[in-house]
Symmetry: D2
C-alpha cells in the first residue's frame, strides 16, 4: 500500500516531559493508568476526517494552500479510496483509537441520490476493512446537511419539504453506515437549521419540522437496531445568522419540549461554547448535570475572533477543567474526545498534522492527570461540599423538602436577622487549580 | 404640593412630525387609533422608578453626577416620600399610564427586616393614594434581590439558606405590595442567580434552589389571591459572570423542566437580548411563538460595548420589528413597554429625563404605526405564507402528519431528484420594511 | 450583445417614496439637486466587481449557490469577457456611475506572470471600450494580494522576499491598468498583511517591509504619471488573526511614522469599523479630521456576528451620520461610495442584485437629504459650536495659545473654584437627528 | 502601630512548588537569580492602592461588600492615614517592592482645591516616612481625572476650559508628590478623554486639547526636575463610549503627531488589550518594537465579559508570553508589573488579598523562568531568524536597501516564477512554548 506520510517513519511514541523530540508525546502514554483506567480508555481520542483529510486550507478570502498526496490524481472515487488509506495510516502512526466522519467527507456526492448511495456503500465497505486491519474504531458518523446548496435555507427546517426529504434520506444512509461500522454514536450538527433573517422565517414551524426530523431518525435507528447514542452538537451561529441549537441549555429545552430527551445527549465543542458566550467548562457542566454530556469536540477558539477558528487546544488548564467534568460524571464513553480542529492555513506540511494532534493529545493527557489528582486530593470538591452544607440540615433541608413557605421564611428572617457573609474564595481556588499544572 | 419639574410647565403634547419643539411628541398621540385601538392601549408605556428617580449618574469609574431635587434634604423616609411626589408629577406631565418599581427603589431598607416592612407598607399606602389621584397604574412590582451585599453569592441560589429566606421574605412583601397596588404583573430578574466561577459552585443544586424559590412565590400568590402575570426577565451576564436566566430559550427550558411553565411568561429586554448574542426581535419572537411574551423592557444597548448600557431607544426600525411581534400575538397586555433605560451620566438636567422618554415614546409610536401598516398591507406576511406553503399539502403535509418515514422519504428523493432552489429574498424584504419608515 | 439581466427590461427609475414597485428608487433621484449639487455628484456610487460578478454564494461551510449566466460556458477568458458585458449591462440598468475591481476579479490568473499580464491587458482594453460606450467610470482599481496561496503568510510582509516581488509586480500592473482606465483612486487592502501568531512573526521587520512596499508604489505612480489618490483600507482582522492596518488611527500613525502621509488617504468601510470596535461614524470622523477621508466602502455588518458579513446597508440613520461627515468636509470626490456588499447566500436570483443595490442607494439618498437639511438648519452644529465656545476666549484661548502653564492654572483653580456642570444633552440630540428621518 | 492583617502572622515565604500552604509562594523567590538577575529585579511588582485599599466590592448592580479594618472609624483624614499603615503592612508581609497610587486614593478630596492640596501634602509626608521605614518604593503616581463629576465630559478634553484647569492643577500636584516620593514613573490614564456620542463632540479640538495638556505636564516636570518616565495607559472604552487612547498603536500615532514621542512610553494593561480586540502580547510587542514599552499593568480580563474585570492573572502561559517581550527588550525598569487587579466582589476577607497577589506573583515568576529558558534555548528565536533570513541577502536585502523598484521586481518575477511555499509551523511552535510550562 502506498505510504502517505513517509516523513513519519514510525508510530509516535511517549518519551516523557523532558524530550526535545517534537514528534513524541510528552504526556500522553496510552496504556498508563490514571485512576485505575488507561489514558486511552479515559480520553478516547478521535480524528476528524473533514479537517484532517478533506480540508485544504481555504478561507473566506483565500484559495486552498494544502496539496494532499492522496488527492492529486485519479477519479473522484479513487481519490476517496486513497484518502481512506491515508487516514488509517495517520491513525495508526499517531496511535489514536477512533475517528469521526460525515458522509460527504468520505464518499463523492455523485450525480444523483442513487450514485451517492452506491459511493457511500463502497467506501463503507473499505472503511470496515481498514477498521478490521488496524483496530481503529468509529466514534461517530453523521450526515453533512450544510455544504450542498440545496441546504442554503435549512435541511430539516427548509421551507421546501423536498429538502427535508433529502436530509432524511441522507441521515437514513448515514445511520446505516454508522451501524455497519460499529459506530458508537451518531451526531446531528444543524449548521443550517436556523435563519438568516426573521423577515422571511416562520420560526415556530421550522422548529417543529426539526423535532419531526429527529423523531424520524430515532424511529429509524430503532427499526434497524442501531443502539448507539444520538448526540446533538450545539452552535449559536455561523454559518447561519442564528442557529436553533444555540447552546446546551437551549438544546436541552428543545429536546424536553418535543419529547426527545430520552434519545439524545449533547456533543459539546469548546469553540461553539465560546461563540455562544459561555466557557467550555460551562457547557460541559450544563450538559453533565442534566446527565446529558455525551461526547466532546475537543478544540479551542480564538477569544478575539468572532468565528469558529477550530484550533487545536494546547492549554493544560482548559483540558484540566474539561476532564474534571468528565471524571466527575464517571467518564465520557461511549463518547470520546474528537479533535474537531484544523491546521492553520499556513501549516501546509504533512508533519504539521502530527504536530497539531500530538500537542493537543498531550494537553488533554496533562489535564486528565491533573484532574485525577485534584479529585483524589479532594480539596476542591471538599470546598464546594462544605460551602453548601447548610442545605443538608436545618432550614436548608426544610426548604428543599418543601417544609417552609413564604410566611414561615419571613418569620425566620425576622427572628434570625442578617446572615453572616462568607468569602467565595475565588482567588484561592484559582491558585489551587493552577498549582496542579 | 411641591413641584419637582418646574421647567416643564404643562403636560407634553402631541404636535405632529413637523414640530420643532423638542418637548413635544411628534408621533405619539395617546388617544389616536391604530388598528382600532388607541396608541396608549397598544403601547402601555411604563416609567422605571430605579433609573428615573433613584439613579444618580454613578458608573464604575465615577461618582454621581445628578442632584435630584427630591433627594436633597430630609430623613431617608421623607426623601422617599418626596420621590413619590416627583415621580407622579413626572408621569402626569409626560402622559404615561404605568410605572414599575423594586422595593428598594421606593422604600428605605431600614435597620432590619421589620423596619423594611414598615417602610414599604407606608410607601405603598402613599403610592396607592397617588395612583388614585392620577389614574397612573402599576405595570409590575419586583423585589431587589441583587444590590444588598447579602446577595453577593446569589439570592435563591445562595450557598446559605438564610439568604434564600431573606429573598423569599422580600418577595412575599413585594407580592403583597403589588397586589395592594393593583399591579398587573410581577417580575423576577435574577441578577445574582448564577455564578462568578464554577470552581466554587454547585450548579445543579443552585438551579434546583431557584426552582423551589419560584414555586414558593407561585404558591404564595395563590394564597393571597394575586392573579397578575408572573414574569422572568432573562439576562446572560452582568453583574454575574454567568446568569442562569441566560436568554429566552434557556428560561423556557428551565420553566418546563421544573414544572413552572404554566405560571410564568417572559419580560424581554432589548439590551439583555444583545448581550446574549441575540437580536431583540429574536428574543421577542422566541418568547412569542411559545405563547410566553408577557412584557417588554424597552431600551437599547450599544452593540460595541459589552455591558448593559440601558439606553433610550430612538430607532424606529427597532421599534417596528418589536411591534410586529406584539401585534401578531394580539397585543402585550397585561404587560407593557417599560423604559428600563437611564440618562447618560452627563445628562444631568431634569429636562433630559423628559427628552429621553419623549424620544423613545415617539420611536415606538412610529414603530407601532409602521407595524400596523405592514400587517394591513399583508405583503410581508404573505411572503412568509407563500414560502412555506408546500408544508400544507402533499409531501410536506404527510411529513408533518407522520405519514412519511425515513425509507419512504428516501424513495421520494430517488424518484424526484434535486429540489428547485428558491431565493430567500432577504434584500427585497429589508427594502420593503425600510419603505414603511 | 447578449443580455444577462433580461428580467430587468429597462433602467431602474426614480418613482418617489410612495411607489410599490420594488425595482424603482424611492429616494435616489440622480439628477436632483441637494445643496446645489446633484445626488449622483454627491454620492458617486460604485459597484464592487468581486461581490457582484465573481462571488457565487460560497461560505466557510457551504458550496456556491449562485449560477451566473455569464459564467456557464466558454474558456476562462471568454467567461471573463462575458462578465464585463454583464457588468456594464448591470451598471447601465441600475444607473450607477462607477465601479471598482481587483485584477483577479476581471482577468484570469493564467499559468504564470506573463500570462497574467497578457490577460489583464486584454481585459483592460475591453473595459476601456465599455467605459467609452456607457460613460461609466472606474472609481478605483486594486491588486488582489490575498487570495492566492502564495500570500498565505503575507504579501509585502511575507518572510519570503520573492512573494514581496510578486506583490509589487501585481501592483505595478494594476497601477498601469488603473491609469489606462482613468481610475480616480488606487486602493490597498492588506488582508494578509498581519500575522496568525506572534510565535513565528517579526512584527517590526514586517511593518518596515510594508512601508517599503507602499513607497515603491508611490514612486511608480509618479514615474508613470498616475495622479489618482492612493487609499488604504483599514481592517482589524479576518482573514488574518491580526491585521496591521487595524483601524483608521493605526493607519494614520503608520503613515506618519514612515513618511507616507502625503501620499495616502483612507478608504473607510462600515463593516471593518465595527469589527475594530468602532462605529462607522467614528472611523469616518477620525479620517476626516486629519484630512484623510478619501473614499467609502458603503456596507454594513451584523453587530452580533464576528466576521465581515458585507451586507447592503438599508439604514437611513447610518447613512445620515455618514453623509454628515462627508458634507462637512466638502464632499467625497475623487472618492465615492463603493458597495462592498454581497447578496446573502440564499439570494440567488439576478433580480436580487438589483434589489440590494436599489435599497442601499435609497438609504444613502435619504441620508444625504437628511444630512443636508441638518446642516442647513444648523441646530446640531450650533449646539457643538456653543458647547466649546469657552475655548475661543479667555482662559480657554490662553490655554490653546500656550499662555497658561501648570502653575498659573493651579492658581486659576484656587481662585475660581468648582466649574458649573453642564448637560451634554445626548438624548435631546438623538431625538433631534431622528426627527430628520 | 495597629496591625491590620493579624491573620497573616509573618511575611509570605517561598516554599517551592510542592507546598500545600496556600499562603506561601510556590515559584516566586525574590532573591533567586534568573538569567543573572534576581526575580525581584526582573519583575518589580507593585500593588495598586485603589483596588487593594480603597475598593470595597461595589459593582454597577450592588453595594459594597467589603469592610476594611482601616476604614471603620475616625475622620476621613484619619482613615486615610490608617490606610497608609495598612498598605505598608500589606506590602511588607507580602514582600513586594513597589506600589502605585492616584491622588484620590490616598488623600481626601477636601472641600476645595486648597484643602485637597493640604491633604495630599500631609499624606505624602506620611508615605515618605513609611517608604523610608520599609524600603518599599513608589513605582508610579497619577492623578485621578475620572471619578469626580466635574470630569463627566472629559478632563483635558472637556468642553469647559475650567475643567482643563482643574485637571492640570491636579497633575501638577501629583507630579510634585511623585517627585517627592522618588516615584520612577508618572502615568496618564485618560478614562474620560473620549466621547459618549459624536453628536455633541468636536473630536479634533478635543484631541488638540489633550496634546496641549500633555505638553504642560512635560514642561512642568522639566521645571521641577522630575526625571521619571511619563507613561500613557491605553484603553479603548469604559467608562467612556470611545476613549482616545484606544490602544498602543493609536497612542503611538497620537504622540508622534503631536510631537510628544520623546517624552512618553506606554503602560500596557492586559485587560485593556483584550477590550481593544488585541492580545496582551500584541500590545506589549507593539509598544516594545517602537522602544516604548515602559511599564505593565499585570492583570487579566474575562474574554467573555465586555468590561474591565481587572482580575488577578494566574495563567503561566500569559505570563510567559509577557515576560518574553520584557526579556527581549532587556527588562522593564524603570517600569514594573503593577497589579491593577481587584478581588472578586464575594472575596471579602483580608486573606483573599494575600491569596490573590500570591497567585499572580507565582504566575509571573513561572512565566519569567520559562521565558528565560526559552530564550536561553534559542529554538523559538532561531525559528524566527531563519524564517526571515532571505531578507538579509540577495533580493531581500536589495529591496530593503532600496535597490529594487517596481519594474525590476516585475522582471524578477517573470524570471523566477512562483515562490516555494513554506509552512509557518504554528502548531509546532505552540507545542514548543507549552512544553516549557
Amino acid at each position: 500500500m502506498r505510504e502517505y506520510f513517509p516523513q513519519i517513519k514510525q508510530p509516535v511514541k511517549f518519551e516523557g516531559p523532558e524530550t526535545k523530540n517534537p514528534l513524541a508525546f510528552r504526556h500522553y502514554d496510552a496504556a498508563a493508568l490514571v485512576g485505575g483506567k488507561s489514558m486511552a480508555g479515559h480520553l478516547r481520542f478521535a480524528v476528524a476526517w473533514w479537517h484532517s483529510f478533506v480540508g485544504e486550507g481555504r478561507d473566506p478570502f483565500g484559495a486552498p494552500t494544502m496539496v494532499h498526496s492522496w488527492d492529486t490524481a485519479g477519479s473522484e472515487m479513487e481519490r476517496a479510496e486513497n484518502r481512506v488509506d491515508a487516514a488509517f495510516e495517520f491513525f495508526t502512526k499517531l496511535g489514536v483509537g477512533f475517528y469521526c466522519f460525515h458522509d460527504a467527507d468520505v464518499a463523492p456526492a455523485g450525480a444523483d441520490f442513487s450514485e451517492y448511495r452506491t459511493n457511500l456503500h463502497r467506501i463503507v465497505k473499505l472503511l470496515k476493512q481498514r477498521q478490521a486491519d488496524t483496530g481503529v474504531k468509529l466514534l461517530w458518523g453523521t450526515a453533512n446537511l450544510f455544504s450542498h446548496p440545496r441546504y442554503a435555507h435549512g435541511a430539516a427546517t427548509n421551507p421546501d419539504p423536498a429538502v427535508f426529504a433529502w436530509a432524511a434520506a441522507q441521515v437514513k444512509n448515514c445511520l446505516e453506515a454508522t451501524l455497519e461500522l460499529g459506530g458508537e454514536n451518531y451526531v446531528f450538527w444543524g449548521g443550517r437549521e436556523g435563519y438568516e433573517t426573521l423577515l422571511n422565517t416562520d420560526m415556530k414551524r421550522e422548529q417543529e419540522q426539526f423535532a419531526r426530523f429527529l423523531h424520524l431518525a430515532v424511529d429509524y435507528a430503532k427499526e434497524i437496531g442501531f443502539c448507539g447514542q444520538f448526540l446533538i452538537e450545539p452552535k449559536p451561529k455561523e454559518p447561519t445568522k442564528h442557529q436553533y441549537d444555540f447552546d446546551a441549555a437551549t438544546v436541552l429545552g428543545f429536546l424536553e419540549h418535543h419529547g426527545l430527551s430520552d434519545h439524545f445527549k449533547l456533543n459539546i465543542e469548546a469553540n461553539h461554547a465560546t461563540l455562544a458566550g459561555h466557557t467550555f467548562e460551562h457547557e460541559l457542566a450544563t450538559a453533565s448535570i442534566h446527565g446529558k454530556l455525551g461526547s466532546i469536540d475537543a478544540n479551542v477558539g480564538d477569544p478575539l475572533l468572532g468565528w469558529d477558528t477550530d484550533q487545536f487546544a494546547t492549554s493544560a488548564m482548559l483540558a484540566t477543567r474539561c476532564m474534571l467534568v468528565v471524571l466527575r460524571q464517571g467518564g465520557i464513553a461511549p463518547g470520546g474526545l474528537n479533535f474537531d480542529a484544523k491546521l492553520r492555513r499556513g501549516s501546509i506540511d504533512a508533519a504539521d498534522l502530527f504536530h497539531a494532534h500530538i500537542g493537543s493529545m498531550d494537553a488533554f493527557a496533562r489535564g486528565l492527570k491533573a484532574a485525577q489528582r485534584i479529585i483524589d486530593d479532594g480539596v476542591l470538591d471538599g470546598f464546594i461540599r462544605e460551602r453548601y452544607q447548610d442545605w443538608s440540615c436545618g432550614l436548608g433541608r426544610e426548604i428543599v423538602e418543601g417544609k417552609q413557605d413564604s410566611a414561615s421564611l419571613e418569620q425566620w428572617v425576622v427572628t434570625h436577622g442578617e446572615p453572616v457573609p462568607r468569602s467565595g474564595r475565588q482567588e484561592m481556588l484559582e491558585n489551587l487549580i493552577a498549582s496542579y499544572l
